[in-house]
Subunit: 227 residues, 2 copies
Amino acid sequence: MNVYEAIRKRRDIRSYYKPDPIPDEVLARILSAAHLAPSVGYSQPWNFIIIKNIEIRKKIKQLVEEERKRFENVLDEERKAIFSKIKVEAILDSPVNIAVTYDPNRFGPNILGRSTMPETSLYSTILAIGNLWLAATEEGIGVGFVSFFNKEKVKEILKIPKEIELVGYLTLGYVREFPKIPELEEKGWNKRLTLSDLVFEDVFGKKPSDKFRLLLDRTFEKIFNNF
Amino acid sequence: MNVYEAIRKRRDIRSYYKPDPIPDEVLARILSAAHLAPSVGYSQPWNFIIIKNIEIRKKIKQLVEEERKRFENVLDEERKAIFSKIKVEAILDSPVNIAVTYDPNRFGPNILGRSTMPETSLYSTILAIGNLWLAATEEGIGVGFVSFFNKEKVKEILKIPKEIELVGYLTLGYVREFPKIPELEEKGWNKRLTLSDLVFEDVFGKKPSDKFRLLLDRTFEKIFNNF
């Protein structure tokens, strides 16, 4: 699977998991891909917690349920009806969860490039998650990025020290399929934006030539449909 | 090039650029890959500013020079000697720069998953940069992530509105090669960490079995050396 194929196949998966376990060899490949991510000043600030323990996962699922209810209450009736059909996590339906953290103090204070932009440690960790996600796609494994909880409470459950940040909580499992259309588009929650509207030339807001805009949209369609 | 190959070939490139222009068709493919990134609540919060204008780039390079001097002054003599050999950007040596921004307000306040973790809009944009970086690698194009400047001053030069965040400033160009070892390792700035030291089981700090740790390190070496 080449890079473009993995990129267009990748989905945030919540509903299509199969119960099959993930072999250790496969997990090791996926984590290797994550560890090959770029990092600011080569600081490699990430850790990966592999969570299979069901009692721990039940506690985290409980936190999601609380936030789900809270979010539902701020929606109007129409949005609420769509939202009720959307699954926000598969913490117990997937065989493996992985929490990804970053340590802002690894290698001390003078990290190259961090001096002016301390947030780049976070960026590095997100890029590790991106690598993990694409490698998982290559392996036929779906990933769901759970963001529907109080992070501090999750940190307590996972015994993550105060000074370490929790960045992502992921569910992983083999999938029956990678659906072509993202679930939120299919269920009418949101639509895909047109690439050419998102690209500017030299300064923010300045549109590129019509010719380049057409090329952008045609290229996107070609990649997206060459499934 | 499969996903693992792109992931292990990808480098943060500052010194190996060729002057050849990047055809629009190739830029369109790379930007399509970025637009296929996951985003919180399908919010697609990114914009891409393609900067070829040399006057704009000279102004940004000037900002980097200022920060470079500031960073150098906090280092001890030994680190300073290593740092003096490290190139921190290729703003003028690369044919294309791309600034990547995010709009925290796109699609309004009730973004699925953003309610509890507003920082996930930023995460989405970083994942778009990750996709762009890997697609560029597939195309033989190196990417450098410049973080050595005052972000607010760059925003002014690029006319980015206050409420829009600047996330990444990238240099892109064809490269003579993707060096096997990251420049910061080769020049003695830092070393690669051992994957098995970064992986925990169920809770933070709990080491996995020796068998799994060995598997992690062997798998990493195999992927890394199968170049």
